[in-house]
């Protein structure tokens, strides 16, 4: 048990860990978005199904949040160039 993995296996494990970490970051973002958009879109008492408005609000919420983050990056860039 004490002997180490050979180089090829270590490389493979490292690649595996990087993939899993990337996946975990995506998962974490989904948790954050769900929490944020739930608060924004679901204002009534939960019923047996979403209303049309709630469902599209959830999808729009993610899309617009990502747009916002792109917008802010552009805004900061243009401000740096103007200075």
């Amino acid at each position: 048990m004490a002997d180490r993995f050979d180089d090829a296996t270590q490389k493979e494990l490292q690649a595996f860990l990087e993939r899993e970490q990337a996946q975990a970051r995506v998962q974490q973002s989904i948790h954050t978005f769900t929490s944020m958009c739930w608060d924004k879109c679901i204002t009534s008492t939960p019923s047996t199904r979403f209303s049309r408005g709630e469902e599209s609000c959830l999808a729009n919420c993610v899309e617009r949040f990502l747009d916002t983050s792109l917008f802010m990056v552009k805004r900061i860039e243009s401000q740096r160039q103007g200075a």
Binding site: M1, E12, L13, E20, Q27, I30, H31, S35, P46, E63
Partner: protein, 103 residues
């Protein structure tokens, strides 16, 4: 090392070193996947607990009423549904942006 009699656990203990190494590698990978799945489930439980408690138990009394319980189970189902909607939307967006980035 177990013999042919102790066939309960893994089946690769009688293998040559390369195979043993492979089994250890697989074990490491499986435990990483397990940990991540556990963390994910825990996060989901914490979030549904917070969100649904806030929505359904507005005036805590000596026990959960049946209407509160109904609300909690609906809320849980809706939160999972929201999680799925958002995960699909986000995945589609990531794919789209990756494709656009390549052009």
């Amino acid at each position: 090392m177990s013999s042919i009699f102790g066939g309960s656990g893994s089946s690769s203990t009688d293998a040559a070193p390369p195979k043993d190494l492979n089994a250890r590698k697989e074990a490491v990978m499986a435990s990483v996947r397990n940990e991540l799945a556990l963390a994910n489930a825990q996060e989901l439980i914490n979030k549904t607990n917070d969100k649904c408690f806030a929505k359904c138990v507005t005036k805590p009394s000596t026990s959960l009423s049946s209407s509160e319980e109904t609300c909690l189970s609906r809320c849980f189902d809706r939160y999972m549904e929201a999680f799925n909607i958002i995960s699909h939307t986000y995945a589609a967006r990531l794919t789209k942006e990756r494709l656009e980035g390549q052009v």
